[in-house]
Symmetry: C2
Subunit: 283 residues, 2 copies
Amino acid sequence: MTKRTAFFISDSTGITAQNLGRALLTQFEFLAFEHTALRFINTPQRAEHARHVIERAAERDGQKPLVFSTLLDAEIRASLQATPCVYFDLFESFVSRLEAELGVCSQPVRGHSHGMTDHEHYFSRMEAINYTLTHDDGCTVAHLDEADLIMLGVSRTGKTPTCLYLSLHYGVRAANFPITEDDLDEMRLPSVLLPRRAKLFGLTTEPQRLQKIRQERLPNSRYASLRQCEYEIRQAEALYRKLGIPCLSTTLISIEEIAATIVDTMGMEYSRLLPTAAPLYSN
Amino acid sequence: MTKRTAFFISDSTGITAQNLGRALLTQFEFLAFEHTALRFINTPQRAEHARHVIERAAERDGQKPLVFSTLLDAEIRASLQATPCVYFDLFESFVSRLEAELGVCSQPVRGHSHGMTDHEHYFSRMEAINYTLTHDDGCTVAHLDEADLIMLGVSRTGKTPTCLYLSLHYGVRAANFPITEDDLDEMRLPSVLLPRRAKLFGLTTEPQRLQKIRQERLPNSRYASLRQCEYEIRQAEALYRKLGIPCLSTTLISIEEIAATIVDTMGMEYSRLLPTAAPLYSN
């Protein structure tokens, strides 16, 4: 059977259109779709190209493609709606309701949701990335006081990607610290971390999964043995419990879920990320 | 004036609800809103807590909060709709239209849009991050053949954050290479890059902006002088032109826009990122 084509169309990055469009299609996971992003459709030439691509997909599939759009330009929008497609305007109905509710007209400005609209906020995110990169894997304890979060975990539990995601998306300055075998044997943390206990968060995973990941890195080593993985995970989890450090198993969840859970658990709704964040919801 | 509160509510990470909710509010940028995310609202207890938070905001603000929701559980949804709020169900109307169009009922499964539903795809993203981290700043030329992209730029043009974003979000294995002063003086690239010209992409920026960034790093150095920044940028841009390397100025655009532009320019719609990506749209 021909897969139906789904287009995510935007006059800017396409992040919002892709996000919502894909989320909607996951409610129909038993069907197969061809996903295609058409970004920066913001000139008559690019609109013409997009029209052509949609028409070709309609012909090829023998059925109308689904179009998920956040386009704001009325002319471009109309020209795409005229193609053989099922057009979902992801903004329109909500904007009308918002206008009615707020009693004002919207002022459409394209690309603002993922553009550079708040410079200070943006640069603090970039600074958070730099901070995270220079505080990866315990490689420096300088400026540890500036960390918003100190991530713990035995080798290969996902500390680095998680810290990078947290800094890129939530503006969190996330340092990370490997737990060494000595620490595990003696059930203690490096003394530099003790005064910063409130910022600690621990990652863990299933020993079998850890073994698989380590095996790819250092095949048939002691480091990658199931026995070693089991020991490290057991000790690390006991250490988190002993010190009251919140922790999360990364076995079954994605980096997006890990990051959102940490932000939620630690009550980190950064004012520098969301300049207007309300302090209403903190744990 | 009291800011009106906007809630982004989800039974999972809240990424979709925040994304679309914020994008909608940027159409009303002249008004001020308090943004609050309520994530993982997936138990009666958490729903109760969310209700309480919404009610407090309504009392405090003296007006109904705006609620942007991707909740799927009918009971939780109904209980939040009963609070004093303006409720925007970001899924409902689209799902009904999709059901009508596709002739099937949806099978709501929460958290799938940012969950770990495709393991192979997920691990290849994690691998892309590892690749990018070990190929940062030209620190190794091993495995350069495995790069999907090789990012060029003089120091502090944003190569590292861009490469990390590309790998985290688009699964792109992005190596990055600083252009040295010797390269600029002689208008050439390291010979290791020449056979890989099709994978090269250059970043640039305005000399004034570069100076400001370098000034924070090494105040009053030759490296941070405007004259040096002007020289390096001029030579780098000439080098890109000479070698026909696509390039982008990062001065006025965000990392999301930079990454989306690169993916678009280089025609990189990765099958390992979007398992069902159609090869319809490539430059």
